[in-house]
């Protein structure tokens, strides 16, 4: 990413929360959205991080997102519940649901919450990591709008439905896999197009459903493993649409193309499974860490590219960005300047770059994980 500025996580957090509050978002909701966006940017998942703030502010203005939701939670059995998010920010809905899943798991061993009437919740890892920090296995799923070509079909039907799984380790942050079920994202394809490059084979198709390596012709993504990724995406849809009563695939209003007045009606599914119902926490965490270390020390195909496990690149990035700040691309930087002007918030200038060495900031940021 071409960057014009780096801003410390703490400074950015104040800015994002201030903008949301000025836009009328309730304090608790603004807190969850801010935490989710900053954590995600620190972990290097820029597509789902703070760069979405301008989009969310538009969604608030249009009425798509309810800034002051009236949640309704119903416990439906000893280990399950349903959560009506009242069209809140998905970040708030997801974290409220994760907390209830954790509560149920504390009482009954496991907790499983289906969330309905929700909106975009950013990175699924935010919720699964929260669960893992309670010494539980966290799983989190959401449906999304149609982007991925059905196997043997001509056009997109299902979304890029992500699967996220996190589990606690010894002496390091949780193991965390947070993956879309397509090979590449549209963001990445767009980026290759901007650099005049071809995309790898098997990544996307044109309007006729035929594979193309020209990034400008791609209108549908391809799932990982053909029918396998397509099947995984259906699983996510069953959990997030069939169990929640929310629309599926092509019936889900599109994130960017649908009018900003239209509610997205997304569904999420969040599970917490208590480790100590199966093994002592200590033994589980110790063995998981050994397992990860054993993989990391496997002989590498290319001696300059070590074997990693899911979450390793994000952990490395979070360490680096906690110290160096979160990078901004030119367009994002301009969009944030505009927000600062519009909402009358102190502007985050390049001059603040040097502040990221501030030790107190760094300590606070690193505690996010």
């Amino acid at each position: 990413m071409k960057e014009v500025a780096r801003i410390s996580a703490e400074k950015l957090k104040s800015f994002v929360k201030a903008a949301l509050l000025k836009a009328g978002v309730r304090n608790d909701v603004a807190g969850y959205v801010t935490e989710g966006l900053i954590q995600t940017s620190l972990r290097g998942v820029d597509s789902h991080g703070v760069r979405l703030l301008p989009h969310y502010l538009e969604a608030l203005k249009g009425g798509r997102i309810n800034p002051d939701p009236n949640y309704k939670f119903k416990k439906t059995s000893l280990s399950t519940g349903i959560f009506d998010a009242d069209h809140a920010f998905g970040h708030a809905a997801g974290m409220e649901a994760a907390k209830r899943a954790i509560e149920l798991a504390n009482e009954s061993g496991t907790g499983h919450i289906a969330v309905y009437n929700s909106s975009h919740f950013g990175a699924a890892a935010y919720y699964a990591l929260e669960v893992a920090h309670h010494d539980m296995i966290g799983m989190c799923f959401t449906n999304t709008d149609a982007l991925v070509k059905s196997f043997a079909g001509k056009r997109p039907f299902l979304g890029n439905n992500p699967i996220c799984f996190a589990a606690p380790c010894e002496n390091e942050g949780p193991f965390c896999l947070d993956m879309a079920t397509s090979k590449l994202t549209f963001n990445k394809i767009k980026q290759l197009g901007e650099n005049g490059m071809l995309v790898p084979a098997g990544v996307g198709t044109n309007t006729e459903g035929v594979e193309t390596r020209n990034p400008n012709e791609i209108t549908a993504l391809l799932p990982i493993g053909g029918h396998k990724g397509y099947g995984l995406s259906m699983i996510v849809e069953i959990l997030c649409s069939m169990l929640t009563g929310m629309p599926y695939g092509p019936h889900v209003p599109k994130m960017f193309e649908a009018p900003m007045s239209e509610k997205r009606c997304l569904g999420h599914y969040i599970s917490a499974v208590r480790i100590d119902c199966f093994q002592t926490k200590e033994n589980f965490k110790k063995r998981l860490s050994s397992f990860m270390e054993e993989l990391r020390s496997e002989p590498a195909l290319d001696k300059n590219v070590p074997v990693q496990v899911a979450g390793d690149p994000e952990k490395k990035c979070a360490r680096e960005r906690s110290g160096q700040g979160i990078p901004f691309a030119p367009a994002e930087y301009e969009a944030f300047k505009k927000i600062a002007l519009e909402y009358g918030i102190k502007f985050l200038g390049v001059s603040e770059l040097n502040d990221t060495d501030n030790k107190k900031d760094r300590e606070k940021s690193s505690r996010i994980f």
Copy 2:
């Protein structure tokens, strides 16, 4: 598959069960193994069906599998339990665990069982489908021995760890995805080699970890979606090894190469989630069926290859084989003849081919799903 005979599911069921009983397997255990193998062969998943009977009989003789296990089940919370299979057939262990997951779900909304000291359990769909027949979502996982190359690594570490998910539908058998996390299986690669064909790109690597399309050089499988399939495989290992205390990856005794006296110590993880804790069963099943029908009627890329959903090929095969019988390749047929002689069971000859039109047989077989 080159076939020399077709044998009706009912006849084959009697034969398989008789062989297991003669080999000293307890009646209830032999029943589960038989049901699992026959259902799997009917569904067309031949790699995990009746053709494994000779292998299992060897494992019994060697002492790897305990024919008369002393199970120990412990309920560890309102929704969880651990099941010590005492080195039983995985089929019996898996089905006993699935039944306990269903019981817990009836009481508490969901049930989750970690199985330890188990052995090869055949197709994961056998257990997930059983759960789905109780109007619950069934999920089932098992670890296996090292076959799949780690992402960026040189050699296999994790197994071809399968993910299975089943959910009930209206007016047809459950939706069922049962997939290994590699692109192709060794069976399929071997088959291509026997026919003098190259394998598709991105399927396997040689002893140096370098991709090859020569089926005879392939010593490791590649995961679907690169780091994504590798991550999914780790999830399965966390559920089946870290939660159960069983060995992982390269520490798991190999199915065919390890001495038949060696216990495999596999772990499984089986979940049941009651549909009616989220939606009415009727609404869920109706919507899932509409969703599947909508996908099936999507415009196809090739008008001769319709869009399907996970489980469609298996349903079609089961209908066909319930009527026409289960096909035998020459080597399998010879192996079964040997078993008939060794255990003194009435021989299943080609002459029985014509019996498959028997209406009563067909009705019984179709009830398996």
